[in-house]
């Protein structure tokens, strides 16, 4: 009954690139949609991201990367999530991720990849529909 808890989202930027326009826009859009958003800034290591996810008890992690290092960094992040038993967290990603890499990323447990041009409401909708149920 008292499940008034807001959906908690971590927006994180792994990798060395600094293109944060998208990450910030998504952070605002999710906040405007009533979610609690934590944005930790540029160049977060996989370890930092997973640690923050744990500390902040988030329901969703949104990864934004445009440097091309997703094939190195995403497996590391999903591996650490498993180690910390955070497998019920919904993980989505966006940025410049070539289409041919998408299946590989999804196999890691990343639920959806949002490419350039994705409307923000589509992302909000996806989060609402795929959010893990809390018991």
């Amino acid at each position: 009954m008292q499940n008034e808890r807001k959906i908690r989202v971590l927006i994180a930027k792994p990798g060395l690139d600094s293109h944060d326009r998208g990450a910030k826009i998504i952070a605002r859009a999710l906040r405007d949609a009533g979610m609690e958003v934590i944005y930790t800034g540029l160049r977060q290591t996989p370890e930092q991201i997973v640690e923050t996810a744990l500390q902040e008890d988030v329901d969703v992690i949104g990864l934004s990367i445009l440097s091309g290092a997703h094939r190195t960094l995403f497996p590391r992040i999903t591996e650490l999530l498993k180690q910390k038993d955070l497998t019920d967290v919904l993980v989505v990603a966006g940025g410049i991720i070539p289409e041919e890499d998408v299946p590989e990323m999804k196999e890691l447990g990343i639920k959806e990849i949002f490419g350039p041009g994705t409307p923000t409401d589509k992302i909000v909708q996806f989060v609402l529909e795929n959010i893990p149920k809390r018991t």
């Binding site: 690139d17 326009r21 952070a27 605002r28 540029l42 091309g68 094939r71 410049i96 041009g117």
Partner: protein
């Protein structure tokens, strides 16, 4: 430009037109929107007339090309004398691969080089640093030491090309390497021509690839300006950049105002160092984005030249006409490229490139159509270069100077951009300058707000993007994108290890200690950095010395 009587007559006629002709059309064919606005939210009128520029004074506000206030261009002959420099930003993988790409571009008619470095180089990490994992050679060419730079320019004589380098934090190290390659090729330093981006201010609020905190960062910029003024006189030691400000989300007015204000800050820093304005100002250069709104962009470039000339003359009392010149490089706006229906980007790039040419840029990079997907393929790069060549040789746009001058709309917009930029100047002066504004998060907030507003307009379809929120098609994407071989990282690490075995490590240690000392003593660091790169000290090693003394910048997060 117009006498009062004429203006009154036009006003009367316009009112008549609005009361008689216009209503008939508005009834049958009402306008598409209630109001029309450009990217920087200027209300766009139905039609412009001499009324809108009634106070324009030709000699005061426009003048002739090559003369104050340089609204019409910095050279008296412009493209009738020499076309702009076609300079395509490129770099990926190893130095060998990028050397091949450079030679290909030069063979295809490119007239200047422009290096894209990978993220580890930009952040001052060697390829074996934990942060470099997965990033080596991916978004640019991997350059860790003079060894790589020697390979990068193998077979390219430095007295025959000019080179632009997009590098900021480690700008001094890369310039030192270029000088060292020149020394090896026997090219005297006074013959080296090119540009370092070396604009750290915009890093703190837009590009955000900076290493050191603001004060030491500006000190390094000033070191480079001072060194180049004395020893590398044909080098543009800084390219004051609006491009990244725009890409981060700013509108055209913000791009214009923030960039020029950064310029003011650098001039002040050089003056504080004791340099004379006319000694360094002629070599300051600028870099802007060319976005989609055709007329707004043209007005922006023209206004930029006029504001800079006035600022240098009135605020800094420069006497040398060259100190008043704003020379600019333009790149079409990467942000506007769509991943959807990527071939449409060729059209966008053409329109954007035309704005820069019609407004008299000195140099231009045209984006490749596949860049919303990956680094550009060879074919895509060639089309981008051909776009410039078609504009140059087929369109006639390069045959007369500043062809849109005198357009009621263009002149009105140019004035409007200047007016709004000056309002920002005032605000920034009141805040105590660019650094206090950065520390307050002022630029960051302005940019984030504009970026969000733009996205809302796209999401709500108030702004149509073809192929993205309208005219969409279900499509396969058969485009072949360039992929960087993951072996590059291994190769670079191996090369680094080999270098560290082969070089004179005692000498490296010695020169790094000298650097440490010079940094603590606050000397101009260029000479000792040149010694360090010549001893084959790596970017990571040199930056680590500076990190220890200066510390690292911690981003101020503003959403």
């Amino acid at each position: 430009m117009f006498n009062k009587e004429k203006i009154n007559e036009i006003t009367k006629e316009r009112e008549r037109w609005e009361n008689t002709t216009l209503p008939k059309w508005m009834g049958n064919r009402p306008e598409r929107k209630n109001e029309f606005r450009n990217h920087s939210d200027t209300l766009i009128k139905r039609v412009y007339t001499p009324e809108d520029i009634k106070d324009l004074d030709y000699m005061r506000d426009l003048g002739f090309p090559g003369e104050y206030p340089f609204t019409r261009g910095v050279h008296a002959t412009m493209y009738r004398g020499r076309l702009w420099t076609m300079r395509q930003f490129s770099g990926y993988g190893t130095a060998e691969q990028t050397n091949q790409r450079f030679k290909y571009l030069l063979k295809e008619g490119e007239t200047g080089l422009s290096i894209a470095f990978d993220y580890p180089s930009i952040r001052g990490y060697d390829p074996d640093h934990p942060f470099s994992k997965g990033e080596v050679g991916v978004c640019g060419v991997a350059v860790a030491s003079l060894k790589d730079m020697e390979v990068l320019f193998d077979g390219i004589p430095l007295d025959k090309v000019t080179t632009s380098m997009t590098i900021n934090g480690p700008a001094a190290m890369l310039l030192a390497m270029y000088i060292a390659v020149g020394d090896k090729q026997g090219v005297p330093r006074e013959k080296l021509g090119g540009t370092m981006q070396n604009d750290v201010l915009k890093e703190f609020f837009a590009q955000k690839l900076i290493i050191f905190p603001p004060k030491p960062s500006i000190k390094l910029v000033t070191d480079i300006v001072e060194y180049c003024t004395k020893h590398v006189p044909r080098w543009n030691p800084i390219s004051i950049s609006g491009y990244h400000i725009r890409e981060a989300g700013a509108n055209a007015v913000q791009e214009l105002a923030f960039t020029l204000y950064d310029g003011i800050t650098y001039v002040e820093s050089c003056l504080e160092r004791g340099m004379k304005v006319d000694d360094f100002a002629p070599r300051l250069s600028f870099f802007f984005a060319a976005h989609n709104d055709f007329f707004e962009e043209i007005a922006k470039f023209r206004a930029a030249r006029r504001i800079w000339a006035k600022t240098m003359k009135e605020r800094f009392h420069a006497k040398n006409p060259r100190s008043l010149w704003m020379r600019m490089h333009v790149q079409t706006a990467g942000f506007t490229l769509t991943a959807q229906q990527p071939l449409n980007n060729i059209t966008r790039v053409t329109i954007q490139a035309l704005t820069a040419i019609l407004a008299g840029t000195q140099s231009l990079h045209t984006n490749s159509f596949d860049e919303a997907l990956a680094l550009p393929s060879e074919e895509a790069v060639r089309i981008a270069l051909r776009t410039q060549q078609i504009i140059a040789h087929e369109s006639g746009a390069a045959d007369t100077i500043d062809p849109l001058a005198g357009s009621y709309y263009i002149e009105y917009l140019t004035n409007e951009m200047e007016k709004r930029a000056m309002e920002y100047f005032q605000k920034l002066d009141d805040m105590g300058g660019a650094i206090p504004a950065i520390e307050k998060g002022f630029f960051q907030k302005e940019i984030a707000d504009s970026a969000y507003k733009y996205q809302r307009e796209v999401d709500e379809k108030k702004r149509i993007l073809v192929g993205v929120n309208d005219y969409t098609t279900e499509e396969e994407r058969p485009i072949k994108v360039l992929r960087v071989n993951p072996k590059v990282e291994e190769e670079q690490v191996a090369r680094l290890q080999k270098l560290k075995r082969q070089r004179d490590n005692r000498k490296v240690k010695e020169v790094l200690e000298k650097l440490h000392y010079a940094t603590e003593e606050d000397e101009n660091l260029m000479p000792v950095i040149i010694d360090a790169v010549k001893a084959y000290a790596t970017i990571g090693e040199i930056c680590d010395v500076l990190r220890k003394i200066y510390g690292e910048y911690k981003e101020l997060i503003v959403i």
